[in-house]
Symmetry: C2
Subunit: 336 residues, 2 copies
């Protein structure tokens, strides 16, 4: 926490010019053919006095902030929270920093956030886009700011993207339910055009078709309160006498669990998309479709960093496999 020392201080102390120091500090020593001896002398001195360049001045000069903007749906959802954490630590090693914000699926807020990050000159973006954010993303691209989308994408816009195989995940989960002997299998989703929801829905329906089962689909308003969601779910499950339900997100499943507790009805077999601490602790524990969080995070930043270095030209879309973690909630059905 010693007082701040400047590049000019070290130049003076060593009796050389700031240019030389700057070159050495920026790994341009050999390129500029600066003697090894001098280089070492400077580096040693720098380490000794613990010099740290003023990042503000650097950014102002170079136009690069080494800061990445992460725009996600909800940081308090462990799925996103974990991805954020992984991204943060990964990117840290590369000398980048992350700033993040939640949109809570509100387009206006998302636009505002992106504008703010843009004003703050972040070097690049990782975004879980809400409906209606297509134009904003396009503008970013036109301004030459690298953007990589995740969790969902815009079919009509060429963008880098990393996400899970939602179709397969939902398909496998639904099939599993059929194989365990369930016959009245519902699917709970959101009123949203986001691709991941569409894909999960398609996966569910495909499985129902393959197994010659009827489909029961309930959608919830994205801005519904917990109470409203619970009420809809109670009705959906009870009125249809469902014996199994696939929830398309972890928080919908949690609302379902709360509903069964509040309205005192027995929860049928349950599978949730995305894991959560709750699912392991609840009785019975809940089977989940788990996304490959680590892979997603790694690919996300790999792609973004490559873009930043201009080492990539074609857009990349990566789809990673999900894993079905079977737990107690989907035991073989006991026919009464």
């Amino acid at each position: 926490m010693k007082k701040r020392i400047l590049i000019s201080d070290i130049a003076k102390a060593l009796g050389i010019s700031v240019t030389t120091v700057s070159f050495i500090l920026n790994d341009k020593a050999k390129e500029k053919r600066i003697s090894e001896a001098l280089t070492k002398r400077v580096l040693d001195y720098v380490k000794k006095v613990g010099y740290k360049p003023n990042e503000l001045a650097k950014s102002l000069r170079t136009g690069k902030t080494k800061i990445l903007g992460l725009i996600i749906e909800d940081i308090s959802n462990p799925f996103f929270g974990n991805i954020a954490r992984l991204i943060e630590s990964k990117v840290y090693e590369q000398g980048y920093r992350i700033i993040y914000c939640s949109t809570n699926n509100d387009v206006e807020k998302a636009k505002e956030l992106i504008q703010m990050f843009y004003d703050r000159q972040v070097d690049g973006f990782i975004i879980t886009p809400s409906d209606g954010l297509e134009d904003t993303v396009k503008q970013l691209q036109q301004n030459n700011i690298p953007v990589v989308l995740f969790d969902r994408y815009f079919p009509d816009l060429e963008t880098d993207y990393v996400g899970a195989d939602n179709f397969q995940g939902a398909f496998d989960a639904s099939n599993h339910l059929c194989q365990q002997g369930y016959r009245r299998i519902g699917f709970v989703s959101l009123y949203s055009d986001q691709t991941q929801m569409k894909e999960r829905s398609d996966g569910y329906m495909k499985a129902m078709d393959n197994n010659k089962q009827q489909s029961f689909i309930q959608k919830i308003q994205m801005d519904a309160s917990d109470e409203e969601a619970m009420e809809s779910l109670r009705e959906f499950i009870c009125e249809n006498r469902l014996d199994a339900v696939l929830f398309s997100t972890n928080y919908l499943a949690i609302s379902g669990l709360k509903a069964s507790k509040k309205f005192n009805f027995t929860m049928p077999a349950v599978i949730a998309f995305d894991d959560h601490t709750v699912f392991k602790l609840v009785e019975p524990s809940i089977t989940v479709v788990s996304q490959p969080i680590k892979d997603i995070a790694e690919n996300l930043i790999n792609i973004l960093l490559l873009r930043l270095q201009g080492k990539i030209k074609a857009t990349r879309r990566m789809v990673l496999p999900c894993e079905l973690k079977v737990r107690e909630s989907t035991k073989v059905k006991v026919t009464s």
Copy 2:
């Protein structure tokens, strides 16, 4: 997302000097006795073209970044996560931004983080200090960087602080357990000298003494794995035939729940410090001591902002009351 416009652009467009524009933009119009008409003309133009000052340049010049550093124990713990969110939005209105990082109670990491934030010239800090961070905090103060601590503090260091009334919270919880008829009441804590743990422990013991009950205290290593914690808890609860347990943190309680599930023993009456989604959903739902998160967040930033404006001289220590939320886990004991 229009192209960036500079203060000189607007000066040129309006045929005046940058100084004038700068004064107006920084609310120094009347102080510098600039005509109302001109002021309005400039403001209108600025709004029209959507000018946003370059924050980097501003910070470089003024030495103020308008960024606050938030160093917390674990962002993925909803207690801290919620506080972080509240602080973020509150502070946003005042034109400040937050950058945050988790220490996971690792002193070295905390020191590193603080150094990094200091290098990045944050204007002030909010910190949940880990053991051993006293000197670092002292140095910050000596460098005239405002710091306000929360959740715990250093008894020997004069610092601003905001936290809950841990003693009272633990005392009330323990008393409640006694009143419900429990007799073998355990307390689970951490091997740590942090003040909040000490206070909770004191509250528990005081209640045990008042009720003439024996104390059972189990401490867990802070760096223990989940498995180790579960094993210790199983042993503690089963061997002592406890009929009630007060957990000093939410994640310890969660480990307890996991243990009871894994080792298949019946959980006695439970109270946890700090609420969590899990506690409402689990069967039976868990009684908790809930900290006044909103109050804590508000006071934290109020104090920090006052400090930043130099409007405060004496250090402030605020202790806010906790609330006991009684749920199913602490029903009146049925004597067998």
